[in-house]
């Protein structure tokens, strides 16, 4: 019981916003509300893709080559069974996009989780322990900051895939993409968390915890971490857009998700080859889906940032 009272008394602005004003403020910003609605819709359709999609594009037995290269249903020559048309194998493009969205979101969320975890641990250690730990971690982060994150992800993903045999590449592609994206972006979180920890560690509650004999691990994990969650949350939201965009870029260049498990970027890469023979739909529709999800994450993330932490502007 006391724990419940305690958690309510804690001035954690994310939960208090949610209880008091989150919905009200969201309705006052129509662009953000629409973005959130689109986002929820896209995430739900990605999660339930196996039930929503009318065909399973990976089930080769269900594909009919006679249905291949069909334009969208609303264009002359289209087939009403395939709303967005079909690809060169005769797979339903709408189903492909749903499954591709699923891969894109999965990789994006996993990559951000990885960079949040790495960055938070590094930032906590760097900010609280200080001295040489801080020096080493921040120097590594600095070295990484010399390169644009996208290029770094391409270097890690591309070089490791290029050193592998084709069979290895097919099985390891997804973990490699997640690793490449996660590693390329952890310094952003490390810097953010370190800055917040440097402020928090001055406060009395940290001194009190130290006085009663709490170790550094406990103080970092149980006391500092909950107090630096807000900025992490905001950056993570915006970072998912970065991760999805980088994943799509890597896949478009051929060093991301393989064609056996295509993401939106892979679909665009494959479709791009058919653009010049007039089959615009196989590349334009996945591209628009990608833009739609990135725009809605960015609009919602910007709004969330202004709401939770105006200092981050």
């Amino acid at each position: 019981m006391s724990a419940v009272v305690n958690s309510k008394a804690r001035p954690w602005s994310l939960s208090s916003l949610w209880r008091n004003a989150f919905v009200r403020r969201l309705l006052r910003a129509p662009a953000a509300a629409v973005a959130l609605a689109v986002l929820v819709l896209l995430v739900l359709s990605a999660v339930f893709a196996p039930w929503l999609a009318q065909t399973n594009p990976y089930d080769l037995a269900s594909l009919d080559l006679l249905d291949s290269h069909l334009p969208p249903a609303f264009v002359a020559g289209g087939d009403p069974r395939y709303v967005l048309g079909t690809d060169s194998q005769g797979a339903d493009l709408a189903s492909l996009i749903l499954y591709g969205l699923r891969s894109s979101l999965l990789v994006g969320v996993c990559a951000v989780s990885l960079s949040v975890t790495l960055g938070t641990i590094a930032g906590l250690a760097s900010g609280y322990l200080g001295r040489w730990v801080d020096g080493v971690i921040m120097r590594i982060a600095d070295i990484q900051f010399t390169f644009p994150a996208m290029l770094l992800a391409l270097l890690i993903g591309g070089i490791s895939q290029s050193l592998m045999s084709n069979a290895m590449r097919a099985t390891l592609a997804m973990p490699i993409v997640i690793l490449a994206l996660g590693i390329s972006h952890w310094p952003h979180f490390a810097r953010l968390v370190r800055g917040a920890v440097l402020v928090e560690r001055q406060k009395d509650y940290v001194a009190a915890a130290r006085l009663v004999g709490r170790g550094p691990i406990f103080i970092m994990g149980m006391q500092l971490l909950p107090n630096v969650l807000n900025p992490i949350f905001v950056l993570a939201t915006l970072d998912i857009a970065f991760a999805i965009m980088s994943e799509a870029t890597l896949s478009f260049l051929g060093f991301g998700m393989p064609s056996t498990q295509p993401s939106l970027g892979t679909l665009i890469r494959i479709g791009y080859g058919y653009l010049f023979s007039g089959e615009w739909w196989v590349v334009i529709f996945p591209g628009l889906t990608l833009v739609l999800i990135l725009v809605s994450i960015n609009i919602f993330g910007d709004w969330l940032r202004d709401m939770l932490d105006p200092r981050l502007r």
Binding site: A31, R139, D142, I143, T146, F147, P148, M150, L151, L154, L155, G158, I159, Q161, S162, L163, A241, M245, A248, T249, F252, L253, G254, F255, I268, Y272, L275, F276, G278, W280, V283, I284, G287, L290, V291, L294, V295, I297, N298, I299, D302, R313
Partner: protein, 327 residues
Amino acid sequence: MLAFLLNRLFHALLVVFVVSVLAFILGDVVGDPVASILGLDATPADRLALRTRLHLDEPAVLRYLYYVQNLLHGDLGVSYAAQRPVSALLAERIPATVELAAVALTLSLAIGVPLGVYAAVKRRQMLANALMTLSVLGVSLPTFVVGILLIFCFSLRLGWLPSFGRGEVVTIGFWTTGFLTASGLKSLIMPALSLAIGQIALVARLSRAEMLNVLKSDYIRFARARGLKNRAVYFSHALRNTLIPIITVSGIQLGYLVAFAVVVEQVFQWPGMGLLFLQALGQTDLPVISAFLMVAALFFVGINLVVDLLYAVADPRLRIKTLSARS
């Protein structure tokens, strides 16, 4: 001041050292140069001779030193795929990438800064807010999607612009330029635009934020109190201080442009360094990959050094801030 510069110089050398070790490991330890140069049916004696000539029988630290020595002499090894010196391959490709990035940088500053300043000055007007909402779209558009949409509209539908390549180029000394021919300029439009769109949006958002910050400061209020006209306040007082961070950020912008040029070069089959790197990745052409790594590191370290110097020269307050933030 001196301590700051020495710190940055040390950092630059550290980055170059770390990347050179990585590039060395990649080219030397992972690949087997003897097999790739001589092929599989070489005699053992030939192999041994080549091993000695390439110093392969010596310890790794010494081999690294030889590698650095070659690097300093501009010798980046021989491409497996093209069977030509990597430095020659790079020299051929550099002009295309530099021209593309330079045009995109010019576009992003020439369009982004005025848009941002306008949005800051007229921040209560509909058009200014619409521009800022539009900038979110600009930031969210992946480079390759922009390129594909442009090709779809202007090459396939309208047939106005070529969809790939650099067009005709003119060779001046070691440099090839597409600026001097009509087809070269026409080929440049879409790649430069798809590279620039995201950056235009970023520059516009940055200039708006900086301008808003400056407009809040005391000396602007004082200038208004003196009865200066809006135009004088905005252009001779506010804009000048807004430009300092924008100039330094444009250095970082250039870095991003070069990174994303890899993507644009793939979309438009633009014969630059990025395309060379992607082809090398596809063929596991290790000398080219490790050379690209090295050149990219030198390039980014150089940009960062120049940006740090500009910071230090342009605004003494920033110099003190950077110092205290780092210590």
